[in-house]
Symmetry: C2
């Protein structure tokens, strides 16, 4: 290990872990540590809850799991030493147990010289948005400063730097040389800048550079984007790792604050590219971690299924994508042509399963009309998609976007069928943006353009009755998406929305649609809880709710 | 109002509120207060979060909603006075706003003489099981003692008495005459005794009787059972209200601790009756509060759908129940006869929709085999059930029980279809218990026995292939349910289960089934979160989870 003039060499091991996979995550720590040490690093930093994966939710309450994680940390320390890596300081996250109350902790441990050499427990436990940590963990009470090769390294875990006070404030009185943080910070559009600003502020307060090591990878509906960085106390970016891929970067800490090491600073991505890559990584990791090798998706010729199939081809290769065209009497020839063209562009498997005969057979028996007649077409398609899923072991993809899901403009057990919905969090206008971005990317790289232009340009239609248009039932998407953003994301009430300048009719339409769609978004049935633990009670808004603004 | 010799007269208004229905809940407060005052009560006690309903989840974050609730409390106080009820002390729960931080509070207010006369904010915010209050509310800091007609009344809200310390401990130093608590305590089998013991302990500690006023009614998947009570400092039950119905009872507080008033003490229900009534109330309230007048359910002739249809008939009347028999080539004649007999017994609407022609049409096109062939039968039935739901505006009921849902022994988008699952939280052995109890109840009351005996006694089968039995795929239910109880409810790990005396093969089978069923229980598709607020991310266990004990 070479320090001396170069100061202390850190390796930023931005890895993709899997929840519950103690063995696999441990192997990955070993592999990255080998590479880091061979590049002369002394301190190797891994993300929050490295060994367990993150977030572990109620797994934390299983004593068996906590014991297995503890065993893994110890055996890993021994194995590192046995491989001649004992002199490195390997910083990993894991689950711990509160000594007094036997409750779970969100813990950082330092593996060194064959033992768990030091430990630190997360103090601030986020309890908002996607986070439920206060429910699961108890808080650590102590700050920690590591003394390595004459450098004083303060440590913190994720939320500890987002809140004022606590252990980071305490570190401000400890004259540290660097603040090392390990994180599991999920991707959100624009969050990179927020992290950078926060990092710069803490570095300035503590008069020390800050290392921000973030997890990368998809875990259920969260995507961690990586983008780890080191920022100086003057706000200068000293290192930035790429987003959406595993990475091993290096940075040297020096005693002289004015001449800190500079390392590779990867340029930032544009918003559309960032979102697109987030969706692809989320889908790809969900497949890999749940052992799916391929996907099936209904191809309508419309923009939503076209974008979903393209993302899938980018995630697992076109040859693992099964596109199923399921035309009816209401499907235009243009739609069928677009579906086939898309599949050809992607190199995907393509099948046509007309729904006409089954639809006629159902109707001879049931004689359905209006919405019931529309829904049964979508449900026949749902049955066909699931039959491909069952027969071939494919992950069924639901092509719904956030605008239609928010408004309940989809058929439960119909087009909403699937195990994963790659664009469920993209408003419709953003779906168009990403489709255009993806085609533009292909053009710029001299690759075949995947998405047929007519899928992007034609007026959206569910094609469940003659001449149907989305705009028969919904405001135009350009307007709808603005109202949804204000009503859902900003929690504006009716009076706020009118003050925002939206007209009364649109506001009332959108509010009514969104309020009534709550039960549709919950596609598992509700039911009473009569014993101590029921399955799947988990939502944020009551389904039964009579409040009208 | 007559106090004097009778002391202070309390009315226990155990009402059924609806989340978000500020007007409806306010009207109910008015109506019960009129009745209480006409029976000479001075203090009228309503449940936790009376005006808003409970639990309100993220509605708490909408300032519009909090403002409307505040207006409702004030206008209600004025209206009470205008009606000549201003001298009563009306104690209701509502949502408040923390003055400093503008965050939501779980608040009790006293309406008196036309104004909001006093207020108290809940201190301990439960953050486990079905409760997420710490996420939503901030804690109150002060205890409150009301002085009414010379009596000192300490107050608390629900969790405040479940935790040691806090405002209730403070009340112990205040020489109070009674502890008045308002609650939203969901039903769990056996919880009544736990509440009584807790009440007796607090009454003893505070040297004062305790009033426990609980909400009644269903709210999504929670059922509140009422069962309000007053318990003396010597542990003697002084009043107990019935469970599962709205109720107005009275109790007089006297200065002489040794001669506290006695009132009606309703006898406790047996466990099976309690569970049955919980399920019926949950379903009935879900229908009423979401404006469904009838239900549809597939009738297989088996015990699960038979119990569900019987509960539905008890909840809304047999004439509002649509039972659909959907036989295939694999359905036995006995099953068809049992389905028809059940519908006749219940006075339900009965339809037969054979699935044969649609199944054949699908198969001519798709040529499915094995599990895919089994699943498509269940999914055709799901489409038919939903077509009745759509055509007639009926709530579709999913008949799954907890044993099969836990093991994934059901078809997603097939028999799992529905908006409400009345027995989703009952293990299979408990399904049989409740069916026998319901038939026995009918016999004891000289009513027609609803459930055919052969539905109870025959071996369970999904009838999706010739001669199929549940026991081909699952351990016998008597054994399976014991393992499920230990693995899920008690969180026993593999070693614990073996130590419990279960054999290794059974343990490994059940653990594998339960671990793999997680994604099935989440019937909405997952998808990546790319903006600040995604829909429906809310679960307790990760779907992606590689941990194996």
């Amino acid at each position: 290990m070479t320090n001396g003039n170069d100061g202390l060499r850190f390796a930023l091991a931005q890895i993709d872990t899997c929840v519950g996979d103690l063995d696999g995550n441990g192997e990955k720590v070993l592999e990255f540590t080998r590479r880091a040490v061979s590049d002369d690093a002394t301190v190797i930093v891994f993300p929050e809850m490295t060994l367990t994966g993150y977030p572990i939710e109620d797994l934390a309450f299983r004593a068996t799991f906590r014991n297995a994680a503890w065993d893994k940390a110890n055996s890993l320390a021994l194995r590192l030493k046995a491989e001649g890596l004992g002199q490195a300081f390997v910083i990993v996250g894991t689950v711990g147990t509160d000594d007094e109350r036997r409750l779970p902790r969100n813990r950082m441990v330092v593996l060194h010289d064959g033992v768990v050499w030091a430990g630190y427990d997360k103090h601030f436990l986020p309890n908002y948005g996607v986070f439920d940590e206060f429910r699961i963990f108890t808080s650590g009470e102590r700050s920690l400063v590591l003394d390595i090769d004459g450098f004083r390294i303060g440590v913190a875990i994720c939320e500890d730097i987002w809140q004022d006070g606590g252990p980071v404030a305490e570190l401000g009185r400890q004259d540290i040389d660097v603040l090392l943080t390990i994180n599991g910070s999920p991707y959100e559009a624009g969050k990179g800048h927020v992290r950078h600003e926060l990092g710069a502020r803490r570095a300035s307060e503590l008069h020390a550079p800050l290392i921000y090591l973030n997890q990368v990878g998809g875990q259920d509906d969260l995507v961690f984007d990586g983008g780890s960085f080191v920022i100086g106390q003057d706000g200068k970016m000293l290192e930035r790792s790429p987003q959406f891929v595993e990475d091993l970067s290096f940075w040297n800490l020096r005693h002289d604050a004015d001449s800190q090491g500079m390392s590779t600073v990867v340029p930032e991505l544009g918003t559309d590219e960032e979102m697109y890559r987030a969706c692809v990584l989320g889908l790809g990791d969900y497949m890999r971690k749940n052992h799916f090798e391929g996907v099936c998706v209904g191809l309508s010729g419309g923009i939503d299924s076209a974008l979903v199939a393209t993302m899938a081809a980018d995630a697992c290769g076109g040859e693992h994508v099964w596109g199923i065209s399921m035309p009816s009497r209401y499907s235009s020839q243009g739609s069928r042509d677009d579906a086939r063209l898309l599949a050809d562009n992607l190199g995907a498997n393509y099948r046509t399963e007309t729904i006409e005969r089954v639809f006629d057979t159902f109707q001879e028996q049931l004689h359905l009309e209006s919405v019931a007649e529309e829904n049964i077409q979508a449900r026949i398609r749902g049955v066909i998609v699931m039959s491909y899923s069952n027969s071939k072991g494919l992950l069924a993809l639901a092509p719904g976007n956030k605008s239609e899901l928010a408004c309940g403009y989809s058929t439960i057990y119909g087009d909403a069928v699937g195990g994963y919905a790659p664009i469920k969090d993209l408003l419709k206008t953003k779906v168009w943006d990403l489709a255009r971005w993806r085609n533009g990317y292909a053009e710029a790289h001299d690759e075949p353009v995947p998405i047929p232009v007519s899928s992007i340009e034609k007026a959206p239609s569910a094609e469940l009755r003659p001449g149907q248009r989305d705009s028969d039932s919904l405001p135009e998407y350009a307007l709808l998406d603005q109202v949804l953003e204000a009503y859902i994301e900003l929690a504006h009430g009716r009076a706020d929305l009118l003050a925002d300048g939206f007209d009364e009719r649109t506001v009332d339409t959108v509010m009514r649609l969104v309020d009534r769609a709550e039960w549709k978004r919950r596609q598992y049935p509700l039911g009473p809880k009569v014993t101590s633990l029921a399955f799947g009670r988990d939502r944020r808004l009551p389904v039964t709710n009579a409040f009208r603004e």
